[in-house]
């Protein structure tokens, strides 16, 4: 018995010694962004002498896992690849450290305004932005040689191209993430801002006159104009575009590689052309960044690594390797010769970061329901559906 105990003790002692000082980093990134991340990690370890262990986690599961794990001391020192709309909940749960002091004046001046706003709550910065992303008009230039200049023109071109099994313009219209562009452009908004510039969850603009007009415009795409057939969902749109059966779509940079791999190489990316009165389209955009675990046992090194990852030079190499749109202005200027990056960069100029307060979590469900109901039939009640969604959001 004693012998076994000794063996056990030595075994566990050996395990214990294997744990070294260093950082553990969770990341949701994969493929090219992961490759870039590994390069940066190696460079950081070389420069700072701090070993970094990368734990790759699932994008969808990262947030609930982080919420549970961080206070229990089981999470990484950093969470890399956090979309900004999750930041409110992480900050409120006390699992995202306040990084306001990290952002120097130079850094803030160089940073995209939306990226800053995206990660700011109550005047405090809770993550360092890495890149921005959001949908833009993606045009198959083989089918539409001349890009439309106004929204009306876009609709006319699209109608012309829609017949049988070829389509002019489609997007995943039942998805609030995409359809918000219409609601917002026609005058709706999610949350208003108070005097201090903070989002006010009590002021909801998703059932106001503008939002209803926007809702009507989305409905018109399906029923009046007949552009978007019933049952259109995300795979339908990307599938058709990849086949060359769809001329224009509204989607994000993450699909560009798939489109190119499918043989659609002659792509143009631009903002959706403005309304007749000159109002530019402005939909949702997202920011991805790095969150620092406030329960980190190695906070100084974790902070250094965060800053290392967010520096403009790193964003340039990220853009060059993986085509992400840098959150830093100077970095974006350096990669502007790529037409796709430039196109998305331009489209995102007018975009609005998704609200980052936890109350946003209760917006997606009801709005998804409202859009499904609105699109269902030609005589659906747009105002009624939006009002019902709004009351559910406020009630929750």
């Amino acid at each position: 018995m004693k012998k076994y105990l000794i063996v056990l003790v030595t075994l566990f002692a050996g395990l214990g010694l294997a744990f070294g000082q260093g950082l553990t980093v969770w990341t949701t990134w994969r493929d090219l962004t992961l490759e870039w991340f590994q390069n940066e990690t190696a460079a950081f370890t070389e420069a700072f002498g701090v070993p970094v262990e990368i734990v790759r986690v699932d994008f969808a599961q990262a947030q609930p896992d982080w919420l549970l794990s961080a206070p229990a001391g089981e999470a990484g020192d950093l969470l890399v690849g956090v979309p900004h709309d999750r930041i409110g909940e992480l900050a409120a749960a006390g699992v995202a450290a306040n990084m306001t002091s990290f952002a120097t004046a130079d850094f803030l001046k160089d940073l995209s305004e939306q990226a800053r706003v995206g990660f700011t709550i109550g005047g405090k910065l809770f993550a360092l932005p890495m890149y921005v992303e959001g949908p833009a008009l993606i045009v198959n230039a083989d089918l539409v040689p001349e890009a439309p200049a106004t929204y009306e023109e876009l609709l006319a071109v699209a109608q012309e191209l829609t017949s049988g099994d070829s389509f002019g313009f489609m997007y995943d219209s039942a998805n609030f993430y995409f359809s918000y562009n219409w609601l917002h452009t026609f005058g709706g908004f999610v949350f208003g801002r108070d005097a201090q510039g903070d989002l006010d969850p009590a002021e909801l603009g998703l059932a106001n006159e503008g939002a209803i007009r926007g809702g009507e415009a989305i409905k018109a795409l399906r029923h009046e104009l007949g552009l978007i057939p019933a049952g259109t969902d995300y795979p339908t749109v990307t599938g058709l575009f990849s086949e060359g059966a769809l001329a224009m779509t509204y989607n994000g940079p993450w699909e560009i590689e798939n489109f190119r791999n499918a043989g659609i190489t002659n792509l143009k990316v631009m903002p959706i052309p403005p309304l007749a009165d000159g109002t530019p389209f402005s939909g949702f955009m997202g920011v991805q960044g790095v969150v620092l675990n406030p329960f980190s046992k190695n906070r100084a090194d974790a902070a250094n690594f965060t800053k290392w990852l967010a520096r403009p030079a790193a964003q340039v190499s990220l853009a060059q390797l993986s085509g992400r749109i840098p959150a830093s202005g100077s970095a974006l200027a350096q990669v502007n010769d790529d037409p796709v990056i430039a196109g998305f960069g331009q489209a995102l100029l007018n975009a609005e970061p998704m609200p980052n307060i936890p109350e946003m979590g209760s917006v997606w469900g009801p709005m998804g329901t409202a859009l499904t109901v609105i699109l269902e039939s030609a005589d659906s009640d747009v105002a009624g559906s939006l009002t019902q969604a709004a009351s559910e959001i406020l009630g929750n």
Partner: protein
């Protein structure tokens, strides 16, 4: 020549004529938005099916009248049954066939406009385009798997042992003394088992890497590690099954054979505790595992599964033992064996099929679990098949069907092999009524 055979020829000719007529008069399919439609196609389909059923049944009837006139009706009925069962098999297998063809298809999406030419089924999108057949999906999900030579050796060995086993099984029917073959069968079964265990234990995350543009090794993408996920799942499910068997046999034995104060109450607790939806206790399990430093380890997940597994298995084993006569134990105990000795030497050996059943039940049950696994196992190196497959469809917007299908086929293979290898042990317990409640 029997008159019946002549009539049969007549029936066949009539049926063929009818079917040809049916097909010939079918209007060409029309395109409706994304779909291909044969107007009133269902009437034609039912009509055609009816003709086939009628023709086959009458042929069987006539054949029966020629052979055994008294049972001719039975013949007709049986022929109809066969046809019906084949229809059911077709329906049951359609998803499986479709899954296979998607996995062997070049496109990574099921959302494709079917080709304009070719077979009607292909043109309508009922079956994927055979022109697109390729191995790219498998190449994709397997390309970053770099096994060591000895592991390939193990795989070859296991395959050899498997073919030996199958060969021996096929030979059994033709050999006079099948018991002589049994030893070799057992030997090859053990061979397969040991090879698999060695493989499961030896495959490590380090075997999964890709080369970047600079030629350096970088860890494989999460979509290309299905082999590791399978290995992880086999490890977790296998150990859970073993643990369930190990811990539930004694308990089941005590419940079935001993009478002691508190037995009934304990039994009730066992039965009712496992009715709580265990994954809803996720938060508590998370903190328990976190406290024990077992988070993100297989041991933690196995322990989390074990509770429910043990309760259920004990209950089944108790039910089984109650159907077994205790005379053998009694005899052994009269001969001076202790109760433990009786359990160890008598009960365990005769219960092997039941223990196998319990093992397989837990094995298959945990194979499809993903909620607990998703919370306890965080890092990708620890993912199980369930989590690994979820990632293809839990992306923000779309599902990568090709890669999902290829991974699904690979992920199903182990369980399919195990299920069919032990089909009798598994379904036999249900058919024999050994499992109650």
């Amino acid at each position: 020549m029997n008159r019946n055979y002549l009539s049969m020829a007549g029936v066949v000719a009539a049926a063929a004529t009818l079917l040809t007529l049916l097909v010939a008069t079918t209007p060409p399919p029309v395109t409706e938005e994304l779909f291909l439609v044969i107007p009133r196609g269902w009437i034609r389909f039912l009509g055609g099916f009816g003709v086939v059923v009628a023709a086959l049944s009458s042929c069987a009837y006539l054949y029966g009248r020629a052979r055994r006139p008294a049972r001719a009706g039975q013949y007709a009925l049986t022929a109809g049954t066969h046809l019906f069962i084949w229809l059911v098999i077709g329906l049951v297998f359609y998803p499986v066939v479709y899954l296979l063809s998607v996995s062997f298809n070049r496109n990574n999406s099921v959302a494709n406009i079917p080709p304009k030419g070719g077979n009607l089924l292909v043109r309508s999108g009922v079956l994927p385009d055979p022109a697109e057949v390729s191995l790219v999906q498998y190449a994709k999900v397997l390309s970053d798997t770099h096994l060591d030579p000895y592991q390939w050796g193990l795989i070859v060995l296991a395959t050899l042992a498997l073919s030996t086993l199958l060969g021996l099984r096929a030979m059994r029917k033709r050999v006079d003394n099948p018991y002589r073959l049994e030893r070799y069968q057992q030997l090859s079964a053990w061979g397969i088992f040991l090879c698999l265990v060695a493989l499961v234990l030896s495959i490590q995350p380090g075997h999964f890497y890709a080369l970047n543009r600079a030629g350096e090794q970088i860890p494989a993408s999460s979509e290309r590690m299905i082999v590791l996920y399978i290995r992880n799942t086999l490890l977790v499910s296998g150990t859970t099954g073993l643990l369930a068997v190990l811990l539930s046999t004694t308990a089941g034995y005590a419940f079935a054979r001993m009478r002691f104060e508190g037995r009934y109450q304990t039994l009730l607790t066992f039965v009712f505790v496992q009715m709580f939806p265990s994954f809803m206790a996720l938060v508590a399990i998370f903190y328990l595992m976190s406290y024990l430093d077992l988070l993100n380890t297989f041991v933690g997940l196995i322990l989390a599964y074990s509770g429910a597994a043990i309760a259920f298995s004990s209950w089944i084993f108790k039910g089984y033992l109650e159907s077994v006569s205790p005379s053998l134990e009694e005899a052994a105990m009269v001969d001076g064996a202790t109760r433990w000795g009786a359990f160890w030497r008598i009960i365990l050996p005769i219960s092997v099929p039941m223990l196998l059943f319990i093992f397989l039940l837990q094995f298959i049950g945990t194979y499809s679990e993903f909620i607990l696994a998703n919370t306890i196992l965080i890092g990708q190196e620890h993912w199980t098949v369930g989590i690994g497959l979820r990632q293809f469809s839990s992306g923000r917007f779309d599902t990568q069907w090709g890669a999902l299908a290829a991974s699904a086929v690979l992920g199903s293979l182990p369980i399919l092999l195990i299920f069919y290898s032990f089909q009798e042990a598994l379904t036999g317990q249900y058919t024999a009524g050994g499992v109650k409640g």
